[in-house]
Symmetry: C2
Subunit: 251 residues, 2 copies
Amino acid sequence: MEGGAAASTPAALPYYVAFSQLLGLTLVAMTGAWLGLYRGGIAWESDLQFNAHPLCMVIGLVFLQGDALLVYRVFRNEAKRTTKVLHGLLHVFALVIALVGLVAVFDYHRKKGYADLYSLHSWCGILVFVLYFVQWLVGFSFFLFPGAPFSLRSRYRPQHIFFGATIFLLSVGTALLGLKEALLFNLGDKYSAFEPEGVLANVLGLLLACFGGAVLYILTRADWKRPSQAEEQALSMDFKTLTEGDSPGSQ
Amino acid sequence: MEGGAAASTPAALPYYVAFSQLLGLTLVAMTGAWLGLYRGGIAWESDLQFNAHPLCMVIGLVFLQGDALLVYRVFRNEAKRTTKVLHGLLHVFALVIALVGLVAVFDYHRKKGYADLYSLHSWCGILVFVLYFVQWLVGFSFFLFPGAPFSLRSRYRPQHIFFGATIFLLSVGTALLGLKEALLFNLGDKYSAFEPEGVLANVLGLLLACFGGAVLYILTRADWKRPSQAEEQALSMDFKTLTEGDSPGSQ
């Protein structure tokens, strides 16, 4: 990191990032508390295997996926490649943890003889997982290895950002649907009697939505975008002139 | 509209807008079909009063709210004030229709002796409604009447856009939660047997998510933003110089 570069971090950004992390950690802890206090905890080789599903999904497809999106805002003065590798790695961790969560629920359904993939939650969940995997593959091959020509990267980047944010929001929505499903299955009529479990899970739902909102806010604030570094800009211009010979906004 | 201004509409934009409208109308029709075919239709003075709730919410807080956000992309060559009034009016229609939907469900609960506001869907719904009303009031007083000073408007505009999009997405998420709730209440175990009603409602849920995604895409594409008109730019500059005497990016 260069000495003078740190000054370019917007004054309010660290507070917003800290707030988002507080929200994210609280919602992971609250998911654990919900499963531990009211659902009997987590174990792979028993009926508690199901409980691995919500915890893995909240950690992987909500918290880690959200943090992976923030990497370019937080590490704004590191080399672009380092940030890019971290972004890709966080998404790999998220994918692997989500895969464990997916195996947990399918395995639990198989052992219990329950039907698979009939609910809106499961349809959205499979859609999210497939889109997330495809987005990762395309992102990796365009931006890391083997890498696409500069002109193609420039055109794909806004799409990558839009679909990344959309997949993240769909993940949050799918988590809300799953939480609702679990509450209605487990509490039934007791839900309307304001049972502590129902209230705790509703608060968890609101926290999920707030975390989604906080990540989206940090991501979309125009003056918080990562500044292009001088050497990257020079390189980009060279590439641009070589490959296209036109101006950046001409598409 | 000026003769030459129409040429500034991006070539692909009308197709994306048409697609979003097709999605929006399909999801309103499908909500009607679901309620008509499987839930006995709609009537105010009977048990069917509940069914006014999902229909009003999908028309008001999803379709009309979404379309209100697109007004600045669609009417890009009209006078700014005309577009602004249309944006505000569409939101008023959406609010009034949503209020009817809200009265329907509270009235139905009261008649049946059901508890209010215990579920995650209801918590999110009330949050959406309050935020939407506050956003409308603040937007109206800043941008229409009495109107805020130019410097304040410029600072508030990005927040207005961010919170507008967020409230819209939360509306879509709340609709998904409500749909899920209705399915689990009404279908119970039959949901996992792939009953036609369950499949239709799942498709409706996916359409809701797609409509949210389509509106967000049109709204956030940088090269589709409404261009500032020449006279507005000149006026802005005058105001800016008079009130602040600094550059637009100095905040």
